[in-house]
Symmetry: C2
Subunit: 189 residues, 2 copies
């Protein structure tokens, strides 16, 4: 039951069988279709999702109607409007499935209870937060200090799945460039 | 001894007197002067700093010689090239004092030992990582989806100290705009 999720925990921390069973029992399966919005701006993020199959993204809708993608989560990754999940304040983000997806979701109250009860669960979460810090810093660095061309090359080197698997519209909104610029970069111009 | 640091822990988690004494004993005081660089690109970040007095920033040096400021840390805040501190791989950032500063620093090996030994220390660190996640997401949102004017107004609302206390050059490099644009925004044009 929930083999991928159990493996994800097992890869990082040691858990007793009772602890693992307790943790897994708090997750519930959910199926979403391509383009389905799981969370809209103004709502509070009450769930953390684990992607078993498919792909989620978080994005902002700008005043001019343009979308700006903050995060893309493929299989074997957790995803949420995490700031809102942490603070329980309304989010500015949208959370959307980019493909038909199978997810496992846990409610904030269950999540907090596990943090208080199981030290290794807190350790696991701490390590995932460290990973998020590394990813966010990399994103900030690329947006603050790189040209569009370098940002594209960087992405191709470190997370090629985004470019290979997703439509140009999403990739461009992730890189903060127009689709025309992306087409030129893809053509090596 | 280290009253501000002890308060910082006390504000977030419960520690026994022995635990607190153990934690504080791993920090060492250091004084740095304005503009001093504590860590340069290509080095591994071995220390986490707590700002008792003064101000630190982390920044990237772009190919064209321009600086891009990622993070500014005032009093009662921890600061490091955190990705490198986490991964122990070389950083792309510079860490610099923006004012004469009094810091307390802890070595990565002592930090890791405390994480393994004291569950409440891990909880504290987890909560600081959550806070970093909120700040980073806010930074990403502002860079990805806001105009320069809106970024400036946002900063004025949520972290006015940056604008009030630091020179225009630093503020502009934090907002990702030119000093001329910043002057216009400050003049309300």
């Amino acid at each position: 039951m929930y083999v991928e999720l159990a493996n994800e925990f097992g890869n990082y921390v040691e858990l007793t069988e009772t602890e693992l069973t307790t943790i897994l029992s708090k997750f519930k399966p959910i199926t979403v279709v391509k383009n389905e919005v799981l969370l809209a701006k103004g709502s509070v993020s009450r769930y953390l999702y684990f992607v078993q199959k498919g792909c989620l993204r978080s994005f902002y809708l700008q005043d001019n109607g343009q979308e700006a993608t903050r995060l893309i989560a493929f299989e074997q990754t957790f995803c949420s409007a995490l700031s809102s999940f942490i603070t329980q304040k309304p989010t500015n983000e949208y959370l959307q499935a980019l493909e038909d997806s199978h997810l496992l979701m846990i409610h904030k109250s269950d999540f907090d209870a596990l943090l208080a009860e199981i030290c290794s669960f807190e350790r696991f979460y701490r390590q995932r937060l460290e990973n998020a810090q590394v990813v966010n810093t990399w994103r900030l660095e690329s947006l603050l200090s790189m040209t569009a061309k370098k940002r594209y090359e960087h992405l191709l080197q470190y997370e090629p799945r985004i470019i290979q698997r997703l439509p140009n519209k999403i990739v461009a909104s992730y890189l903060g460039i127009t689709q025309e610029s992306l087409s030129r970069l893809k053509a090596g111009k």
